[in-house]
């Protein structure tokens, strides 16, 4: 391949062609394909046109099912139409895909292939999704690299118009969709040549039109449906040749020739591997390596998987082949092989069985699985497969890449380096998610990839956490095209940079260093002191591998250059200065040129500051003299403490330490069931500063634990003498309040290693020192000096008994916050606006809570392994949590309710069974129990314990059956939790139905007003005038009023809350909603980083939202109507500040003035009018009389 022109990722490569070659684009966000839709929306918004001079209409739908329907409709009316999706999204499109294919409609769906949620959700790459649509009638074209994505996007568009078969164009999620690599961009002349207008007109001519009407989509009966299905055969038979013809035409235009089945290897190979997707590129590298060592091997890349052309497959195989390994990147449980394997077996068996004589004998074919959920697929693994083929009786249905010690499917492998890597420079960078490391590396790739003769590749590994996340960038540079579709391995990196000193104690990064590599560390310690800060292992690695060790205090350099804490430019400069990838002067000039290009005239001062940082970086970069001997006695911190349970130490802890790949199958829970409460074992030490309690000033209001997003500050009331053995620094004072007995003390304690330092507790603290206005009852102070002391205090705090729940006064914050949060230390963002609501719910109802959680932020910080934040109380009770899908959460939760109620009813029925001899008084007490408050629930639990004791002495199935359902006689609280993307959009139909069901479920909508988890795409909750992805020009219609919709049912409890604006109203709403014996809906306003605000201002933003009327706090309680009162209580006052004051404080609104000033003014005026009208409407509703008029019995 000639030198690349631009460096982009796979998603951009696909979107560039899709946007250029379509008229309508229907989109919906799903990882990892969301970026294709985002780019398309942004380009259309900027007026970028397609090949024919029109701006493609980009429309976001409520789900992938909706997008597919829209695509179908637009196609039927003649527009060139496309969509982008992945995983469950593609599955939701299946019904329409059958229709689109059945009607022989030309379209291309671009799919970033991803796992399907099974025992767990996974966002990573495999072919489970595309294999699930292979039967729909779509053709399937697999691209293996970023260049191929661009090429195939166009070839697919051409082929579908020629052959009328719709095409799924797929490429591996993340590995290809997010890999940055060099590609040659296609000029319009190539696109035009591949898409003659005549083809487009032919497509248009098949459109539904009242001017030449027809009927399509009829209902056929037994007499003709079958024949109808067979009528399309000629098109499918012709399609492989059409695609090959397009490949050939394309080769003529670009010089890049592709084949339906593309063979690479020895002409006389006896062992062949067949696979598709990015893994094939690693296979090519490995085959080349093995060929040079005399092995007769080859790899066959499958390009066109459907229609599957056995003829082309057989023709592509060398006649010498004796053994074939077919690798599938998916699993079909219970099948006798995965799809590609079975197709190959069928093709060859059919060929040989029908007398085909191309081969000396029928090759032996084995099938294997690899790479599920982006599992690494390396040269060592590929070598192991060829080695297996070399055996007399190679294992069939094998796996490669894992250790299967249960059914022993896995092959053993040894990692190995391939020749292709000989001249490649490999670099790894450990950065903090928000420190700009990834952005700087992408910039470096562009500098090198676009400004030199070198080829460049970048792949980025991110964290499962949102707060304090680590990013590991893998960069390769070399003189040849880089095909290495796997991460940099141990002893391979020539350059390792650690951008955050904190990571030294978390990651064994130098294990990846090659001999003589360069190690760059950002540290406040000077070159002559840094050595003493390293662990024993690290010192040994530096000595043994003869590493060149450099240190820089990047934070100081950045601050001194006016860059604040933005160290990306400083570290990038150091990389270029010492990595040797480019001559230093050339590199520095390139960085400066890139800075100028990036900011241009938009950022004169930023250019100046970046230049200063670049120059200062070079002056402050020092090489460390490495001693000959190890001097350290410290070791890297263990991921979890030694007292953690076995499972946590051997599974969770290993995953935390980054060694999850080595966990064998036998240690994995087979059904996806994981223990609760493991987040408490992960001490992340993220906070630079933590709150310090001033017990003299504190008034014990309970606001700080209420607002804490990570449950890292808590209160406890206990008898003073319980603190007799407290550590010396443990603070406690007599509790204020007559509700507490004399001699009771209170403490407010921070978990120093779990706090993220957001400062919301200090922000909310209402108390100020009378003689020092800036001091409060909580004040932030640096964490390191406090860490040890507070760690002991926190351990002691945990050991203190919780305050008796039966004694708690739940109506006030002080009381309610004495309840233990059963949701703690989640991976949510620093200052998250959602988690305080979940934490509150677990404090109030956690010990009897069952949670159905829609996919989204709350399912990620709630259940993304390795750790689990939902936890248990001293009795071992706590929330039981599960995530089904994105779209079905309300229905999923309703299922919980139905099952619990069914078991309760069954238990009540069994209770009365004569043969069990249960005390009638106990039966009556259980049956008639009042469980409306904590004492009532406690008493019922005691009755059930009594019942179980009795049943233990009873023989027979009935007793056992009653034992199995007896716990359902204690009131259970069913919670259905999700974001606005779920509640307002994809799950609205289910939500509506569940509300209508009248069943007792509690629906909590964490309303961030965008799809937060996938990166801030517009939902129907997004307010007017806000900019969001998919609404780059500002949303032009108002936020959907979900409260009003729910209230229309009359029997639904509805609450709209904003905890930072009115905490007691939030508390009251949760208690009322849960106590209502019917469906309850709580819409919880949740500031989010996607709003473009610093979440340390989370509380202020909620206040502004309420004061401006953006959010109307309200409670609608159907019980009030039954009592003759107006069910609606409006808890917020008339808007007291202009909407603009609120809008200007958030970048999501204010940036519209920067991009579309006229629209901003217009939409803002309408938004202002809208909030006033809505408030007025609510005010009128809340003032209606519900008293029955005399004489009116209606």
């Amino acid at each position: 391949m000639a030198k690349q022109c631009v460096t982009i990722d796979g998603n951009e490569a696909a979107a560039l062609i899709a946007h250029r070659t379509n008229e309508v684009i229907a989109i919906y966000p799903i990882t990892p394909s969301s970026a294709m839709g985002e780019m398309s929306d942004s380009w259309s918004n900027q007026g970028r046109t397609n090949l024919w001079g029109a701006i493609p209409a980009v429309v976001e739908m409520q789900s992938e099912a909706g997008a597919a329907g829209t695509v179908h409709g637009a196609l039927q009316t003649g527009a060139l139409t496309t969509t982008f999706t992945s995983s469950q999204g593609l599955l939701l499109m299946i019904p329409n895909m059958y229709k689109i294919a059945g009607e022989l409609t030309s379209t291309v769906f671009h799919v970033a292939a991803r796992s399907i949620a099974a025992q767990a959700l996974s966002i990573f790459a495999d072919h489970s999704d595309v294999m699930a649509v292979r039967q729909t009638g779509f053709a399937m074209l697999s691209a293996n690299s970023v260049q191929e994505v661009m090429d195939f996007a166009l070839i697919a568009q051409s082929a579908t118009l020629k052959g009328r078969i719709p095409i799924v164009h797929f490429f591996d999620g993340f590995r290809t969709s997010h890999e940055i690599n060099g590609v040659k961009v296609l000029g319009d002349e190539v696109i035009k040549a591949m898409l003659p207008d005549a083809l487009v007109r032919a497509h248009r001519s098949r459109a539904l039109s009242p001017d030449s009407p027809c009927v399509r989509g009829s209902s056929q009966n037994p007499d003709v449906y079958f024949q109808g299905r067979e009528s399309v055969n000629p098109w499918y038979e012709a399609m492989p040749a059409i695609v090959q013809d397009c490949f050939d035409s394309y080769a003529g235009l670009t010089g890049r020739q592709y084949q339906l089945f593309e063979y690479h290897g020895a002409a006389d190979a006896d062992r062949i591997m067949i696979l598709m997707g990015s893994g094939a590129e690693a296979a090519v590298e490995t085959v080349d390596h093995l060929l040079r060592r005399g092995e007769k091997v080859g790899v066959l890349k499958v390009r066109l998987f459907r229609p599957f052309s056995a003829t082309h497959l057989i023709a592509a195989l060398p006649v010498t082949v004796k053994k074939i390994a077919v690798l599938d990147r998916c699993k079909e449980p219970g099948a006798d092989g995965e799809p590609l394997y079975k197709d190959v077996v069928t093709a060859l068996a059919t060929y040989v069985g029908s007398g085909g004589d191309r081969f000396f004998a029928m090759p032996r074919i084995i099938g294997g699985r690899y790479g599920l959920s982006s599992k690494e697929f390396t040269p060592g693994m590929i070598r192991a497969v060829f080695d297996e083929l070399g055996k007399q009786a190679p294992k069939n249905h094998f796996t490669i890449g894992i250790y299967d010690d249960v059914t022993h499917s896995s092959l053993d492998w040894q990692e190995m380096a391939v020749d292709a890597g000989l001249n490649v420079t490999r670099c790894m960078f450990y950065g903090l998610g928000s420190d700009g490391t990834v952005s700087a590396n992408k910039n470096s790739i562009r500098i090198i990839g676009e400004g030199t003769d070198l080829f460049a590749q970048g792949y980025f590994v991110y964290d499962s956490k949102k707060a304090g996340a680590v990013t590991i960038s893998h960069l390769r540079f070399g003189p040849e095209l880089i095909r290495s579709t796997y991460l940099i391995g141990h002893d391979e990196a020539h350059f390792i940079a650690c951008h955050q000193p904190l990571f030294l104690e978390r990651y064994d990064m130098l294990a990846y260093a090659a001999k003589g590599a360069v190690f760059l560390l950002n540290s406040p310690h000077s070159a002559d002191r840094i050595w003493h800060q390293l662990s024993k292992t690290m010192q040994q690695q530096i000595i043994d591998k003869a590493l060149q060790f450099y240190v820089i205090d990047a934070y100081k350099v950045a601050a001194d250059s006016g860059m604040g804490r933005r160290i990306n430019t400083v570290m990038q400069t150091c990389f270029f200065a010492i990595s040797g990838v480019l001559p230093k002067e050339q590199a520095i000039a390139s960085i400066k040129a890139a800075v100028e290009k990036t900011y241009g005239r938009k950022g004169g001062k930023m250019v100046e500051r970046n230049f200063a940082a670049i120059d200062a970086a070079l002056a402050h970069l020092f090489r460390v003299t490495v001693p000959e001997q190890v001097s350290s006695n410290t070791e890297m911190k263990a991921a979890v403490t030694a007292d953690a349970p076995d499972f946590v130490r051997h599974v969770t802890g290993e995953m935390m330490a980054g060694r999850g790949n080595a966990i064998p199958v036998s240690l994995m829970p087979a059904d996806g069931t994981w223990p609760s409460g493991t987040a408490a074992f992960e001490k992340r030490n993220l906070a630079l500063e933590i709150p310090v309690w001033d017990q003299e000033l504190c008034i014990h209001c309970g606001k700080c634990p209420f607002v804490c997003p990570h449950a890292a500050i808590r209160s406890k009331v206990f008898p003073a003498d319980a603190a007799a053995d407290a550590p010396p620094g443990f603070k406690h004072v007599p509790v204020i309040g007559r509700e507490f007995e004399a001699g009771m003390h209170i403490t407010y304690q921070v978990a120093p290693e779990d706090c993220t330092g957001c400062g919301l507790c200090v922000e909310i603290c209402p108390v100020r020192d009378k003689s020092h206005a800036s001091r409060k009852a909580l004040n932030m102070a640096p964490q390191p000096p406090l860490r040890e002391q507070e760690r002991h205090n926190w351990a002691f705090f945990r050991s203190l008994a919780d305050y008796d729940r039966e004694q708690i006064r739940w109506g006030g914050l002080k009381g309610a916050m004495l309840a233990q949060p059963l949701f703690e230390f989640s991976g949510a963002c620093v200052g998250c606006g959602e988690t305080p609501y979940i934490k509150l719910a677990t404090q109030l109802f956690g010990d009897r809570m069952v949670i159905a959680n829609a996919t989204g932020c709350s399912s990620i910080y709630g259940g993304n392994l390795p750790t689990t934040p939902y936890t248990t109380n001293a009795e071992g009770r706590g929330p039981a949590w599960s995530n089904s899908l994105f779209e079905d959460n309300a229905e999923f939760g309703l299922g919980f309710r139905l099952a619990i109620d069914a078991h309760r009813d069954y238990a009540l029925q069994l209770l009365q069974t004569p043969g069990l001899y249960i005390d009638p008084a106990l039966i009556a007490a259980i049956r008639d129990a009042d469980q409306s408050d904590e004492p009532g629930i406690h008493e019922q639990r005691q009755r059930i314990a009594q019942l179980k004791t009795h049943l233990a002495g009873c023989d027979g199935e009935l007793a056992r059956n009653l034992e199995s359902v007896a716990d359902d006689l204690v009131k259970k609280s069913v919670w259905i939790i999700g974001g606005d993307g779920w509640a307002y959009d994809i799950g609205f139909g289910g939500l509506d139905h569940v509300m209508a069901s009248g069943r007792n479920v509690n629906i909590l909508v964490l309303d961030t007003e965008v799809y937060s988890n996938t990166g801030g795409q517009m939902s129907k909750s997004t307010p007017m005038a806000a900019v969001a992805k998919f609404a780059a020009g500002g949303k032009s219609v108002p936020k959907k009023d979900l409260s009003m919709i729910a209230m229309a049912y009359k029997h639904v409890y509805v609450g709209h809350v904003a905890f930072g604006a009115k905490d007691l109203q939030t508390l009251k709403t949760f208690i009322e909603a849960e106590s209502y014996d019917g469906p309850s809906l709580i819409i919880a306003y949740s500031p989010c980083i996607a709003h473009g605000v610093d979440l340390s201002h989370n509380i202020r933003q909620q206040e502004l939202a309420v004061e401006s009327g953006h959010i109307n706090l309200l409670r609608f309680d159907p019980r009030r109507a039954a009592a003759g009162k107006n069910p609606l209580q409006l808890d917020s006052k008339k808007p007291s500040i202009p909407y603009k004051t609120f809008a200007q404080s958030e970048a999501r609104f204010s940036m519209l003035w920067r991009t579309h000033p006229d629209a901003a003014e217009r939409l803002l005026q309408r938004a202002q009018q809208g909030v006033l009208e809505r408030f007025h409407h609510y005010e009128q509703l809340a003032s209606l009389s519900y008293e029955k008029e005399e004489g009116n019995d209606d």
């Binding site: 928000s434 950022g603 001062k605 930023m606 473009g1092």
Partner: protein
């Protein structure tokens, strides 16, 4: 016919009423209404370098620091090529005013760094500004900073900007200098083309509920024009540069007084915000009516006629006036004293 023309920064203006930096200049239609109402020139709202920097940092954050390190999102808000920074918006606004108005447009700049003053001054000149007002805001919170250092800062900024631009430069000064006359003289020597007296400083307030220090912005009143009147009267005839009066000019009476004291132009802001752009026409009419009644033929004739050098009682502009002022104060009727 009364000749209302006046000379301002080397330009001949049709009258001495020049709306000063206010939100009105942000909107082209408002600016046109001001012109239609008779404004002789317009001073734009200030370009604050702090705002430019903050905006650049915001853009930098949007472009490079939105990610939090999570696989599913590398950013949260879309940033497209159409993003216009604060500086771009200001320059476009300036260019837009130049296109749509016939009267001179004076750009106003509030810098914070030496590079910022000069770079932005050049950009404003290139965007078409007829003149440049340097709006210096400096709060010497450093207790070691001397008055000499503060004044030198003004001189240094002026010198640096004058080296870079060819258009006239005027400085908007605060009244908080020990010797305003000497400073104006130093500025004149350093090459300033005019001074605008006086700037009003932001004054903080306190919220007694939250104990927070809060920004407060109160529009000027006529009383505030007295300070400008005194110093313009003192400077008239003793410096050759343009003297512009600003702050507290609400009525034609206020404007006339400043002209009599020696101002070349009078700036209006608060009154126009309060009454609307057309109010400028009323002030102009009022001024002409007064001049007709008093039989003045031109602004040139009356300009400086009651300055310190020409006033009936020059001492009244000085300390003697202080005694008189105190003495003349008495409580309203009905208040016991």
């Amino acid at each position: 016919m009364i000749d209302l023309s006046t000379e301002y920064l080397g330009m001949v203006l049709k009258n001495p009423l020049v709306p000063s930096a206010s939100p009105l200049a942000r909107q082209p239609d408002m600016a046109r209404r001001l012109e239609d109402a008779g404004a002789a020139a317009i001073v734009m709202n200030s370009l604050f370098e702090e705002e430019v920097i903050e905006d650049e940092e915001r853009l930098d954050h949007l472009m490079h620091h939105q990610g939090i390190g999570h696989f599913e999102a590398s950013s949260y808000l879309p940033v497209n090529d159409g993003y216009r920074t604060h500086l771009e918006t200001y320059l476009e606004q300036l260019a837009g005013l130049k296109r749509s108005l016939e009267i001179p447009v004076i750009a106003s700049l509030n810098g914070t760094t030496p590079g910022g003053w000069t770079t932005h001054a050049c950009e404003l000149e290139q965007a078409g500004a007829d003149a440049l007002e340097l709006n210096i805001y400096f709060m010497p919170s450093d207790l070691t900073c001397s008055s000499e250092q503060i004044e030198s800062r003004y001189i240094d900024i002026l010198t640096a900007v004058k080296k870079q631009v060819a258009i006239p430069v005027m400085m908007k000064l605060s009244p908080q200098f020990t010797s305003i006359g000497q400073l104006v003289k130093r500025l004149e020597i350093a090459g300033v083309d005019g001074v605008s007296l006086f700037n009003r400083y932001y004054l903080p307030d306190m919220d007694l509920q939250t104990l927070a220090v809060t920004p407060s912005l109160k529009l000027s009143t006529s009383v505030e024009s007295r300070l400008s009147m005194r110093w313009i009267a003192m400077l008239y005839g003793r410096v050759k540069i343009t003297l512009a009066a600003t702050s507290g000019i609400h009525t034609h009476d206020d404007a006339i007084k400043l002209l009599l004291a020696g101002a070349d132009v009078t700036h209006m802001c608060a009154a126009l915000l309060h009454h609307g752009p057309e109010y400028l026409g009323e002030v102009l009419n009022g001024m002409m009516q007064w001049m007709e009644e008093k039989e003045y033929a031109s602004v040139a004739q009356l300009k400086g006629s009651v300055s310190h050098a020409r006033a009936i009682d020059p001492a009244a502009f000085e300390r003697a006036n202080y005694i008189k002022t105190l003495d003349s104060f008495h409580s309203p009727d009905g208040v016991w004293r």
